[in-house]
Amino acid sequence: MAHPPVITGEIEGPRPLRAQAGRVVLTGWCLCDGARPAGIRLATPAGTLEAVTGLPRDDTGAPTDSGFRVEGRLPAGVHLARLEVQTPGGDWLPFRSHAFAVEEEPFQAKVEAVEEGTPVARRQHVAGWALHPGGEIAELSIRYAHQEIPCVLGLPRADVPRRFPHHPQAAHCGFQTRDILGAGTGPLRVKARLRDGRTCVSRTPVRIAVPSDPNHPPGFSFTDDPARLPRLALAVPPEATPATAPLNLLFVLPGSFAANHALHVAALANELCAQGHDCAVAVAHDPGTLSHHDAPRFRGLTHEEAVRDPAFRNGRGPDLIHAWTTREIVRRLVRQLLDRFPARVCVHLEDNELLLLAQSLHRSVEDLAALPDDELDALVPPALSHPRRSMEFLRTADGVTVIVDALREFVPAGRPCHTLWPAADARHFGPLPLPTHFRRLLDQAAGTTVLFYHGNIHPANAAEMRELYAAVLRLNESGHPTTLIRTGLDSVDGLGSLADRVRPHVLSLGQVLHHRHLPALMSLADIFVQPGWPDAFNRYRFPSKLPEFFALGRPVVLPRVNLGEQLRHGLDAYVLERADAAGITAAVVELRRDPALAARLAAGALAFARAHFSWRRSAEELANFYATLATSRP
């Protein structure tokens, strides 16, 4: 019996082996019993491609004509391909087997009657042919610069069927633009929408450079660099200090991941995860809003999932539950969780909850305090705090965190308490230069002042937001052109008759879905203003936008309440006793008249941010606080 021939060789080319745009190109070398084989072919169930053999090689240490190359086309799909070698006896023997991915032949378009390499400057129709080998084109247009011109399809072609003999559209794949070219400069693309819904684009070597049209007068520049807003060049943050005793931490939120306080929790949870703790954050609704956050390191859960299985890596339950506020929906969930898990409980306070409840129910705090339990139970919605049950919740908590020291007034005596200042996400919020080019396009008048405010208008802040709008109106009416750029949604209409007059001076952008996109918009601002004054609402809150204002390095105008009590007027910020319309107007005028003061406050804001706002520091302090908490339950 004769010995089977020995076949050696290799297929070359980067993996995955892939026929791009349907075109197979495969190279390599092969020897059959140490000699050039009689033939080589690529055999697939969809077809066979013969190789060109005898190509020179100088790297195999064998006969120099051992190279081969397979070229051709195969139908799109993944084929199990066998490379076969023909022996001197005429038999075909398999040499290699490969899964071979063949891409669909792409959409093809050819633009004619224009000279390639020479930009088309004349206003004319553009014609050519367009065909998708794998589908039927339903609509076609050409695109360049900011222009998109629809095309008439179905013009006869005699040449294309020779290349695509089996394609039903080949004989009528000619096209022509419906209109002549408009002004614009840029490479020409042909865009098609197929009957199956797919969209495809074919780039052409043609460049359009039509200088003007009736809508674009001569001299209109199409080649200037587009104005762009700056984004922070991210520095790689240093590694967090690893925790000596990692914990399973479960944060319970009253709303979704789209809420402001979710930004705080997300930032803390990310930092705690970086320390080695295992963090999960449970939200009451819309868990999909987790996608609003940039690269969360924690797990997002619904309240139901948190009770069923918080899915910590070690399979145990939470070591500590951090209840974000005393709101009923949070308190009830924590009670359910404690029935299942022997965890410590920490409660976070960030608002005057009784005042929020009173405002929401349109009653006074005193009225609510006088109501009997059953009546209160019926009145208090899940999204707000129950005056009595919340106090009981705090009394039984192992620890309490507060966003401002004033909230310690609500913490029962003897409960461990820690003040937890918010910060700005250092990945995105930092000093950004004023985009002067963009501002020149945006500003309606030279010397315009841009104010920026990101946040919703709700019953609790409607009055002070009205003051901000009134200040913008006053500034404009007093000859100080001012634009307020706002993001966020409004749940109340607090402007009344002011609305129509101030509207020309306010650019409302609505809700910006991703918080990380705000800094670029904020960079447009000359000054940040937090309206308000000392009252029962502001005394117990810490507007979460303040650290972000400070991080941008612009002068900040704010009232002497909450954070404002910690700041030095004229150094860290422009601190007003009352940041109402009159105060804000005066502050903005002064800052615009005194560039040195503005520069000093911009630098002061940045310095204060660097010294006091850091999620990493806040998280480290929080972890230390957790470590001090001993459970008060058996």
């Binding site: 087997s97 762009r228 963009f438 945006l442 309606q444 409004d490 020309p504 650019l507 670029a520």
Partner: protein
Amino acid sequence: MKPEPPADPIHLLRQQLILAQVRLMELEDARDELAPRLAEAEQFLAAAQTLADRKADEAAHLGRVLADLQAQASHLRHVQHGTHLALEETRARLAALQQELGDARLALETSRQTQADQQLKLAQADQALLALREELHQAHATAAQHATRIGELDQERAAMKASRSWRWTAWLRAVERKFGGS
């Protein structure tokens, strides 16, 4: 409550200018997110292809092994047929041998019976022999006694014949023999 779009076209343009920036940032983010995912998908595809190639090689190898095994199985079937025939033949021979063995056993049994009979007869013969030997012994003893007696008698006769009387009467006896009868 979403903000209403501004009525003033310039104002609207300014608003859209900023929102376009937001859109650009979203597209940049999408691009930045998709780029590594695309690279990762490429890696997965390469890994999947390597795996598929390996599996294809394994399948080819298994195909060859299957062919070998099928050839071996065919050969074994052939061998089994021959073995079966030989087995049948051996079984037939075995049956014949068992028959012969039965016959032999029967013959042996008969022989054993005969042997037992012979042994019984032999024992009886031995008994008879012993009795005969005893008789012989007694006969020998009697003979010996007789021989002794004969000797004694011979001696007595010799002595008698040697006596003077015998010799002196010899004549008488000769006359007796001659005339007296036998």
